[in-house]
């Protein structure tokens, strides 16, 4: 982690904690992935690690039920219930979004680490790293569903994480993003880590038997030059533990 986090850094971890579900349902990021990342940040010298998501269900319930509150406490990280006053209008000048209120802390922190879970999504096909940034949007964010792919690409024009760690310990293969049926969950015991969030998402599609170009926002992000979708152009290291 010392490549990414320096002594004294304030680090934001942004998992997907949108739903009031326990980890077995693969609707929220695995708490052990989040907790271990927090521990690694502190080992690298981080001063603070703050964890939050703009949840769909009640934040405190989501934080507790997901197991992430306990994992954060065990690692010494802070779970933050997002404060409505801390959103600020960010000029995006994108295809679909010209500006949007985004959570200020992600721009003020020294380091930003995206920690999404891999799951299906009824509108975007899959929700991986890029889609996880909807959890830092304020305003009437569900309005972006009308031009979802373009909006997600626009978010990635201004949100540049230090690192992305995709949780595929369990993936939700159908009925996402909420899930609720354990028969839709597949255990892969996998994590995918990289700096290029488009590349992480491109690989993430393969976990579902898909190709990167099958997901609109991945294709558009690559076309916009925000990252690499062509897996043959990436050096991918596979390891077994």
């Amino acid at each position: 982690m010392k490549r990414f986090v320096a002594r004294g850094d304030v680090v934001i971890l942004k998992p997907n904690i949108g739903w009031d579900r326990n980890p077995q349902y693969a609707a929220t990021t695995n708490p052990e992935v989040v907790g271990t990342l927090a521990t690694l940040c502190f080992e690298a010298g981080a001063k603070k690690v703050r964890i939050f998501d703009n949840t769909v269900n009640d934040a405190r319930r989501c934080y507790r039920q997901s197991g992430i509150a306990d994992a954060a406490a065990a690692a010494g990280a802070e779970m933050v219930v997002m404060d409505g006053r801390k959103y600020r209008d960010v000029r995006i000048n994108g295809t679909a979004l010209k500006s949007w209120p985004l959570y200020g802390e992600i721009f003020e922190a020294d380091k930003l680490i995206n920690v999404p879970i891999a799951k299906t999504h009824s509108l975007s096909g899959l929700t991986l790293a890029m889609k996880n940034w909807m959890g830092v949007m304020g305003g009437v964010r569900f309005r972006v569903h009308q031009r979802l792919d373009e909006s997600l690409v626009d978010l990635c024009r201004v949100i540049k994480p230090t690192l992305t760690v995709l949780d595929a310990v369990r993936i939700l293969t159908a009925n996402g993003p909420t899930g609720g049926d354990l028969s839709d969950v597949k255990r892969l015991d996998t994590v995918v880590a990289g700096v290029d969030q488009v590349a992480v998402d491109a690989f993430g599609t393969t976990l579902f038997g898909m190709k990167p170009e099958d997901i609109g926002h991945v294709r558009l992000a690559a076309q916009a030059g925000l990252g690499v979708m062509d897996l043959s152009k990436l050096q991918i290291k596979r390891i077994s533990v």
Binding site: K2, G35, T36, L40, D189, V195, Q235, V241
Partner: protein
């Protein structure tokens, strides 16, 4: 390094760089130095998998 050795080393290096396919090789060397683009780590327990992934990414 003596002047004669330096000139010999420069000549050999230049010839090597001029060979077709040498730039991709240099690119691969540079890539290896900064680590892979992606790490895909699989196994259990999960905390160990996360640590291994970050280590492999050069962290």
């Amino acid at each position: 390094m003596k002047r004669r050795d330096f000139l010999k080393w420069t000549a050999v290096s230049s010839a090597g760089l001029a060979l077709p396919g040498s730039l991709p090789v240099l690119g691969r060397i540079a890539q290896a130095a900064r680590g892979p683009d992606l790490v895909v780590a699989r196994g259990t327990p999960t905390p160990q998998v996360v640590r291994a992934a970050l280590d492999a990414l050069g962290g």
